[in-house]
C-alpha cells in the first residue's frame, strides 16, 4: 500500500471509530422526539398587551400621585388602550409645571398637549422592550414551575415570528390536565375587602347598586371548587400586591384540613397589619387569578403570616403553593396549540419507522448489487458508513430524532447512493469510450464530482429554508437530511474511491472491472 492510501484508510477508520464512540450507547445518545416517545406539546401566546396595560396602569397611578403632590387641578387621569394615558381637565396656566413633570419623570413617553387634554403615548422602542421583557419573564416563570413539578427533560423556548409565543414540550407527561393548569395559572394573588355578597347571579349583585357599580368596586366570581357558586362585590384595590408575597407552603387549618400558608415580606406585613387592624369584623377575600378562593372575617390583627382555607385537596394545595412560589406571570397566557401523543402511538411509530428504514435500506442495497455487481458492494459499504456517521453527528449535536427525522434518514439513504450512481454511470461511459479501467475510474470520479456537488447543494438549500420555517419535527427532518447529504459527500466520493483503490490498486494490469 502506498503512503497516501495508508493515511486515507487511517482517516476513514478514525471517522468510523469517532462516530461509534459518539453514538455509544445509542439509547442514551439519541434523543427521541415527542412523536416517538409520547408526551405533550404546547404552544402558548403571551398576551403582551395585558402586560403593557398593567405597566401603563402603574404609570397612571404614579402620575396621579405627582399631580396630587403638586396640587395640579385636573379632571381625570385614565389609561386608553394598552399604552396610552389621557389627562383631562387641566388648566392652561399649569402647562409649564405639567411639562416639567412629564419631561423629568416620564421620559419613556411622548406627549401632546391640546387645550385641556394631554395625551401620553409610550415610546415604540420602550413598548417593544416591555413586551419582550414580559415574554422573557413568562418563560422564566414557566421554567420554574415545570422544574418544580419535576418533568424530565422538558423543552421550553421562545417561538414564532413575533417572538411572543412559548413552546413547551413535556415528554412522557403522566398528568396532562394538572400540568396545563399549573403552567397557565397567572398566580396573581390579591387580598381584597368584601363589600357585599354573596349573590347568586351577577345581575343580583348589580341590582344592589341600581345597575350602576361605583368605579372603585368590582364584581368577582367565586371559584366553585372552593366556595359555593356565586358572586361578591369587592373593593377594586388590592390590600397587598402580589409582589410583597415572600413565601407559600402547605399548611393545615384548625380542623386539620389542607390549607395554603403564606407569608409577606416586611413591607407587605406592615401594610397588612395596618389594614387588618382597621377592618376587624369585616370580610376579607383572597382572590387568585380573578377567582375568589376564600372569604373570611377578620378577627384579629394579622401581620406577616396567614393561611387560605377552602375545600382544597392535598394536590390542589401543592399546586397553588407551587405557582405562588414560582412567582406571578407578567401577563396572561393563551394556549394556542396542544398535542398529546399517547405512549402506545409513539412506540408504534418507532416500530414502523424502523421497518421503513430497514425496508428502504434493503431495497437500495439489492438494487445497487444487481445493477453494479462488485462496485455495488463498494457503494453499500459507503452507504453503511454514511449511516454510522449520520447517527454519530446527530448524537454529537444531541439532535432529536422525530418521525419526520426518520423519514429524512430514509431519504438520505436514497440520496447518498445517488452520488455512487452518478460516479458509476460515468465510469461505465468512460469504459465504453475505450479507456482503461483505471483511468476510467479516475475520470469517473473527477467528472462526476461537480454534478454531485450541484445536486447536493440544491437539496441542502431547500433543507435550510425548511429548517428556518419548520417547527419541531419538521426541523428534525431538515437536520437529518442536511447531515445525511453532507456525510454522503464524504462517503460516496472519498470512501468509495479509497475502496476502489484498495481493490484494484495493487494490480499492475487491470483488464476489466465489475461495474
Amino acid at each position: 500500500m502506498d503512503k497516501s492510501l495508508t493515511w486515507k484508510v487511517g482517516l476513514i477508520i478514525a471517522v468510523i471509530a469517532l462516530s461509534i464512540f459518539l453514538l455509544y450507547p445509542p439509547k442514551d445518545k439519541i434523543n427521541l422526539g415527542l412523536d416517538l416517545k409520547g408526551g405533550m406539546h404546547l404552544v402558548m401566546e403571551v398576551v403582551t398587551d395585558e402586560a403593557l396595560a398593567i405597566q401603563t396602569d402603574m404609570s397612571a397611578t404614579q402620575l396621579k400621585g405627582l399631580f396630587k403632590d403638586g396640587s395640579i387641578p385636573h379632571e381625570k387621569i385614565v389609561r386608553k388602550g394598552f399604552s396610552k394615558i389621557e389627562i383631562t381637565g387641566t388648566k392652561l396656566d399649569d402647562e409649564r409645571r405639567i411639562k416639567d413633570i412629564l419631561d423629568d419623570d416620564f421620559r419613556d413617553w411622548t406627549y401632546t398637549m391640546g387645550g385641556s387634554l394631554i395625551a401620553l403615548t409610550l415610546r415604540p422602542n420602550i413598548e417593544q422592550q416591555l413586551r419582550d421583557q414580559s415574554v422573557d419573564q413568562a418563560l422564566e416563570t414557566i421554567r420554574n414551575r415545570v422544574d418544580e413539578f419535576g418533568v424530565a427533560e422538558p423543552t421550553i423556548q421562545k417561538e414564532g415570528l413575533a417572538g411572543d409565543k412559548i413552546l413547551i414540550e413535556l415528554p412522557g407527561i403522566d398528568n396532562p390536565e394538572r400540568v396545563k393548569g399549573l403552567i397557565k395559572s397567572t398566580a396573581m394573588l390579591e387580598f381584597r375587602l368584601v363589600v357585599s355578597g354573596p349573590f347568586l347571579t351577577e345581575e343580583a349583585a348589580l341590582q344592589e347598586y341600581n345597575g350602576q357599580l361605583p368605579e372603585d368596586l368590582e364584581i368577582v366570581k367565586t371559584n366553585p371548587r372552593r366556595l359555593d357558586k356565586g358572586f361578591y362585590v369587592l373593593k377594586a384595590a388590592t390590600v397587598v400586591p402580589g409582589k410583597d408575597l415572600k413565601g407559600a407552603r402547605r399548611a393545615q387549618d384548625e380542623y386539620g384540613a389542607p390549607a395554603v400558608g403564606f407569608s409577606f415580606n416586611s413591607q407587605g406585613a406592615g401594610q397588612f397589619e395596618k389594614f387588618t387592624a382597621a377592618n376587624i369584623g369585616k370580610s376579607l377575600s383572597i382572590v387568585l387569578d380573578d377567582r375568589i378562593e376564600s372569604v373570611a372575617t377578620i378577627q384579629d390583627v394579622i401581620s406577616s403570616d396567614g393561611i387560605i382555607k377552602g375545600r382544597f385537596s392535598v394536590d390542589e394545595v401543592d399546586d397553588i403553593v407551587l405557582v405562588l412560589r414560582s412567582g406571578a406571570l407578567p401577563a396572561p397566557l393563551r394556549y394556542i396549540e396542544e398535542r398529546t401523543i399517547g405512549p402506545s402511538l409513539g412506540a408504534d411509530s418507532v416500530r414502523k419507522g424502523l421497518a421503513a428504514a430497514l425496508g428502504g435500506l434493503l431495497l437500495v442495497v439489492l438494487f445497487m448489487l444487481v445493477v453494479y455487481r462488485a462496485a455495488g458492494i463498494n457503494s453499500v459499504l459507503a452507504l453503511l458508513m454514511n449511516m454510522i456517521i449520520l447517527m454519530g453527528i446527530m448524537a454529537y449535536f444531541r439532535a432529536t430524532l422525530s418521525l419526520p427525522g426518520i423519514a429524512g434518514i430514509i431519504l438520505s439513504i436514497g440520496m447518498a447512493v445517488d452520488a455512487n450512481v452518478l460516479i458509476f454511470e460515468r465510469i461505465r461511459e468512460e469504459i465504453a469510450t475505450g479507456k482503461s479501467p483505471k483511468s476510467a475510474i479516475d475520470a469517473g470520479f473527477k467528472k462526476a464530482f461537480w454534478t454531485i456537488f450541484d445536486a447536493n447543494l440544491t437539496t441542502v438549500i431547500s433543507a435550510v429554508f425548511l429548517f428556518q420555517f419548520g417547527t419541531g419535527p419538521i426541523k428534525g427532518f431538515a437536520v437529518t437530511l442536511i447531515i445525511g447529504i453532507a456525510a454522503s459527500m464524504f462517503t460516496a466520493i472519498f470512501v468509495s474511491r479509497v475502496i476502489f483503490e484498495i481493490t484494484y490498486g495493487r494490480r499492475r494490469k487491470l483488464a476489466r472491472i465489475s461495474i
Binding site: 394556542i336 398535542r339 402506545s344 419507522g353 421497518a355 425496508g359 418521525l403 423519514a407 420555517f469
Partner: protein
C-alpha cells in the same frame, strides 16, 4: 446490469407537445379541484381538533359516523387507518355547533378540549358510559400518574400503586394501546390484591385515544405565511443558484421544470384529497431541492454537446444529451424512489402523506427532466441558436 445495451436513441423532443399536453391536463385538473373543492387542509393550517382513536373490536366507519352525528358532529371527517381498527377524527367544529353552553367564555383551545370530551363520550358504549358516570376511571384512557393517584386514593401503598400504573402503561405501549382484560395485568406481574381493586373500581374502555391535537386558528394563519415564505425563499435560492450556474434560457427552463414538478405534486395532492400538513410542505420543499438535480445533469451534458456538435441541429443535440444521461436519470430516481416507497408502505399512516408527495414529486421530476427541461429549449430554439452562434456557450 445495464439499462440499455447501447446508448439509446429515443426521440424525446419530437414528442414534446404530447408531454406538454399531458402535464397541462394534469395541472388543469388540479386547478379544477382547487377551485371547486380547495385543499384538504390539515389542522396545522385550518385549526381544529384531530383525534387518533383505536378500537378493540372491529368498528365500521358508519357506526362511528352515526355516533358522532348524535352529538351534532356529523360533519367530522373520519378516516380509517389502513385496515386496522384505528381512525382519525378531524373536526373544526366549535361548541356552538354542538349545542353546548358553557358558563365562561373559553379560548379556542379550551373549546376544542370540550369538543374532544364530547367525542369521547359520544363514541363510548353504554356500559362504559355507565361506569364512567359512576366515577370509575378508564384504564385505557388514563395517564400513568392518574392511575397511580387513583390507586393511592383507594388505599394502595405508594410503591404498588406506581408499579401497577407503570405496568398498565407498558401493557398499552406493547400492544395496540388497549388492555382487553384485567387478567393481562395480573399476567404482567401486578399484584392480585391490586388487580381485584382495579376490577371493582375501574373499567377497561373499548377504545383509546392514541393522540389528541388541538390547534388554534391563529396558528394556521402564522404557519401559512411562514410556509409561503419558505417556499418563495427556496425558489429564490434555486433561481440564484441556477442563474449563477447556467445562462438565462437554461435557468428559465430549469425553473419551469421545477415549477412543473411542484404543480404536478400539488395536483395529485388535490386529486387524492391528501391532507395539506406541515410534512407535506416539507415534502414539497424537498422536491424543489431534489428534482432540479436530474435537470442539472442533463444541462451539463448539453452544454458540452453544444460545443462539440456544432453541425447538428438543436433537436438532435437535445435528444443526444437526454439519451446519454438517460440511464443515470432513471437510476438515481429509482434509488430515491425505492426508499420513499418503503416509507410509503411500511412507515405508517402518519408519515404516508409525506411519502405520497415525495413519490409523486420524484416521478414527476424524472419525467419532466426527460420530457420538459430540454423541450423548453427547443421551444425557444431561435434564441438558443443565436446565443450559440454568437457566444459559443449557452
Amino acid at each position: 446490469m445495464h439499462l440499455f445495451k447501447q446508448e439509446p436513441k429515443f426521440k424525446f423532443i419530437s414528442k414534446r407537445w404530447y408531454a406538454f399536453a399531458l402535464s397541462g391536463l394534469i395541472v388543469l385538473g388540479g386547478l379544477y379541484v382547487f377551485v371547486s373543492r380547495g385543499f384538504n387542509w390539515g389542522i396545522d393550517f385550518s385549526g381544529g381538533t384531530l383525534i387518533e382513536v383505536a378500537f378493540q373490536q372491529p368498528t365500521s366507519i358508519n357506526h362511528l359516523r352515526s355516533s358522532l352525528a348524535a352529538i351534532n358532529l356529523g360533519d367530522a371527517q373520519i378516516t380509517r387507518i389502513g385496515n386496522e381498527n384505528k381512525f382519525f377524527i378531524k373536526t373544526m367544529s366549535s361548541l356552538k355547533k354542538l349545542n353546548i353552553r358553557v358558563e365562561e367564555k373559553l379560548q379556542d383551545i379550551e373549546e376544542y378540549e370540550v369538543v374532544a370530551r364530547e367525542i369521547r363520550n359520544g363514541i363510548m358504549d353504554e356500559a362504559s358510559r355507565a361506569q364512567a358516570a359512576a366515577g370509575k376511571i378508564d384504564l385505557n384512557n388514563s395517564a400513568e400518574g392518574e392511575i397511580a393517584r387513583f390507586l393511592r386514593d383507594k388505599g394502595i401503598g405508594d410503591d404498588d400503586a406506581q408499579e401497577t400504573a407503570r405496568l398498565a402503561i407498558a401493557l398499552r405501549k406493547s400492544g395496540s394501546g388497549i388492555i382487553g382484560d384485567f387478567a393481562e395485568l395480573e399476567k404482567a406481574g401486578a399484584k392480585h390484591r391490586v388487580v381485584s381493586l382495579l376490577r371493582a373500581e375501574t373499567f377497561l374502555g373499548k377504545f383509546t385515544f392514541l393522540s389528541v391535537e388541538f390547534v388554534g386558528p391563529q396558528v394556521g394563519k402564522d404557519l401559512r405565511r411562514k410556509a409561503a415564505l419558505a417556499c418563495i425563499w427556496a425558489l429564490i435560492g434555486m433561481l440564484i443558484y441556477i442563474a449563477f450556474r447556467f445562462k438565462f434560457l437554461f435557468g428559465l427552463s430549469g425553473i419551469l421544470t421545477l415549477a412543473h414538478d411542484v404543480l404536478i405534486a400539488l395536483s395529485f395532492i388535490l386529486f387524492f384529497r391528501i391532507e395539506m400538513s406541515l410534512q407535506v410542505i416539507a415534502a414539497l420543499l424537498t422536491i424543489t431541492g431534489y428534482s432540479i438535480n436530474d435537470t442539472i445533469v442533463v444541462f451539463d451534458r448539453l452544454r458540452d454537446n453544444l460545443k462539440f456538435m456544432k453541425k447538428d441541429n438543436l433537436e438532435a443535440i437535445l435528444d443526444k444529451s437526454l439519451n446519454q444521461t438517460l440511464s443515470r436519470s432513471i437510476f438515481t430516481s429509482v434509488t430515491v424512489l425505492l426508499t420513499v416507497l418503503s416509507l410509503y408502505l411500511f412507515g405508517g399512516e402518519v408519515i404516508r402523506p409525506f411519502a405520497f408527495t415525495m413519490l409523486v414529486g420524484v416521478i414527476a421530476g424524472t419525467y419532466s427532466t426527460i420530457y420538459q427541461s430540454c423541450a423548453w429549449l427547443k421551444v425557444w430554439e431561435n434564441s438558443v441558436l443565436k446565443r450559440k452562434k454568437s457566444g459559443g456557450r449557452a
